[in-house]
């Protein structure tokens, strides 16, 4: 459903992504693995329209979407959840969910609260005062409100306590069952092992490996060379 075809992305003068290509089918959870500064966030921002690659193409559901703005891509069903969450700190939990553009009627506040029950307890709290786990849930919940077909989850469990990580992972698997495709970035294989079907490894802005989880598990050399341990 998503085809990233040889994109080159820059921050001003600095060339960050080199000929990055990847693809994703409906219903898959695909890992985008790489070390600190490898280019995972840059890749995701290039897909969701926050950054515009200077070269290369993006195709979503058979249509070219290169150069579209974030809000246009959300309306097509691509939604990005940043690694630093970026919840709207001044707004309440309810309002963070309410202001989102709704592509379909499929997702409502109540359904998000069903997925993330802890949020249901604090609908009136300002998002700036949430804990790290609550912010992570709210960021995913906010993206769900838009009725995404493809979620770009950027290190969703980073910095969370193990217990919260596990419950978040459970919910991510439920989203997959609900038919949402997910591109998930992580720094190492271990933290995404339970979730992903296959993975791309990115290093220095280049895709240097692609394969199934099984192949990766058996290839210690690649893991050592390109991932955090």
């Amino acid at each position: 459903m998503l085809e990233v075809d040889g994109i080159h992305t820059y921050y001003g003068q600095s060339h960050i992504l080199f000929e990055v290509s990847l693809s994703l089918e409906k219903g898959e959870i695909v890992g985008l693995l790489g070390r600190n500064g490898a280019g995972k966030t840059t890749t995701m921002k290039s897909i969701c329209g926050m950054l515009h690659p200077r070269k290369g193409r993006l195709v979503f559901e058979g249509e070219e979407v290169t150069g579209e703005k974030p809000y246009q891509l959300v309306r097509r069903g691509i939604c990005y959840v940043p690694d630093d969450r970026r919840v709207f700190a001044d707004l309440t939990v309810d309002d963070n969910l309410d202001i989102v553009y709704r592509r379909t009627g499929e997702w409502s506040r109540d359904r998000v609260y069903e997925v993330f029950p802890p949020l249901k307890e604090i609908p009136g709290r300002r998002a700036g005062f949430l804990s790290g786990g609550e912010k992570a849930m709210l960021a995913v919940g906010r993206a769900l409100m838009s009725g995404p077909k493809l979620l770009l989850l950027d290190e969703p469990t980073e910095g969370l306590a193990p217990l919260i990580v596990r419950s978040l992972e459970e919910q991510i698997l439920r989203l997959k069952d609900a038919g949402i495709s997910i591109l998930l970035s992580e720094q190492n294989l271990k933290s995404s092992l339970a979730l992903i079907d296959r993975a791309y490894i990115i290093d220095n802005g280049r895709i240097c490996y692609r394969g199934t989880v099984k192949e990766l598990e058996n290839n210690e050399e690649i893991r050592k060379m390109h991932l955090m341990l």
């Binding site: 329209g49 809000y71 709207f88 309410d98």
Partner: protein, 298 residues
């Protein structure tokens, strides 16, 4: 300098209330300025020009409709709406292409608009001043604490809180207001949840311009409507906005109150130099709180 006893003599106290009623105008205009500054990040020097257009338009509408009280009410609605429409054209025609630009460049652009609008106003209304009489319903004075207060000033004193409540409702209770608050802090993320931020910006700009036009229409019966009335006001409005905290509407309210109060108190205490007091207040506030009294969105 006046003694304390003189200060509270009846004449001066009502003069004080009259001065305070101008605070309403300052608040209405600077709340629009701070909205635009907070959400769109445009330091709009032309805000004063829009205020001036509001005053001239009010004059024209009132004269066209034959000077009555009804004409005044009509002007109070029509002038701000026309200014808002003008704001819409400015935003869609110019600013919407320039959000990524540096603030200095935007400042220069809005400065050029003040010059262009100044000339256009001269072209349409001429160089001599215009005036509007206080509408008949507002002629005469009310008794406030046993003191005479012109009805029109009383009206201004009452409309201030009304506008403040209206803005509070728009900003806190409407979806558009909530989106605008989010966009003031992180407009990219607002786009990333599917919202066309361009329209949020347009709405905010138009609302801000409406407030400028309303301020102009409200001041029309109290002053000579002249070219140049934009300059003094934009200065004051910017100081108020800076004092209150950039982008903070309640800061604009607080700043207007401080500015208006020190001005009218200053004139009471020391008539020749009264005009200096609000500026001293601005300096004092900024020395103590360089980022303004309330939280800025910048």
């Amino acid at each position: 300098m006046a003694s304390l006893a003189d200060l509270f003599s009846s004449g001066t106290l009502s003069q004080f209330l009259v001065g305070l009623s101008r605070t309403t105008i300052l608040f209405i205009v600077s709340s629009g300025l701070t909205l635009i500054l907070g959400v769109l990040r445009i330091p709009n020097l032309a805000h004063g020009s829009l205020y001036m257009i509001g005053a001239f338009l009010a004059y024209s509408v009132i004269h066209f409709l034959g000077d009555g009280t009804a004409a005044f009410w009509a002007a109070l609605v029509i002038a701000p709406l026309v200014v808002a429409a003008l704001g819409f054209l400015l935003e869609r025609g110019f600013f919407s292409y320039l959000y990524e630009r540096e603030h200095l460049m935007l400042l220069l652009l809005t400065f050029s608009f003040t010059l262009i609008i100044g000339d256009l106003v001269k072209l349409v209304w001429g160089a001599e001043y215009r005036s509007v009489t206080v509408p008949r319903v507002f002629q005469g004075s009310a008794e406030v604490f046993g003191l005479p207060l012109p009805y029109y000033n009383l009206f201004l004193l009452l409309i201030g809180p009304f506008i403040a409540v209206f803005l509070w409702l728009v900003v806190n209770k409407t979806k558009m207001g909530k989106i605008a608050r989010a966009a003031a802090v992180d407009s990219e993320m607002v786009s990333a949840v599917g919202i066309n931020v361009g329209w949020v910006f347009a709405f905010t700009f138009v609302l801000g311009c409406f407030l400028a036009g309303l301020g102009g229409a409200l001041i029309a019966p109290m002053v000579n409507i002249t070219l140049g009335m934009d300059h003094s006001l934009i200065m004051e409005a910017f100081l108020i906005v800076i004092m209150g905290g950039l982008g903070n509407i309640w800061g604009a309210l607080l700043g207007s109150l401080i500015f208006g109060l020190t001005q009218s108190l200053g004139i009471l205490v020391w008539p020749q130099f009264g005009i200096v007091f609000p500026y001293l207040a601005v300096v004092a506030v900024l020395v103590v709180r360089p980022k303004g009294l309330l939280r800025s969105t910048w």
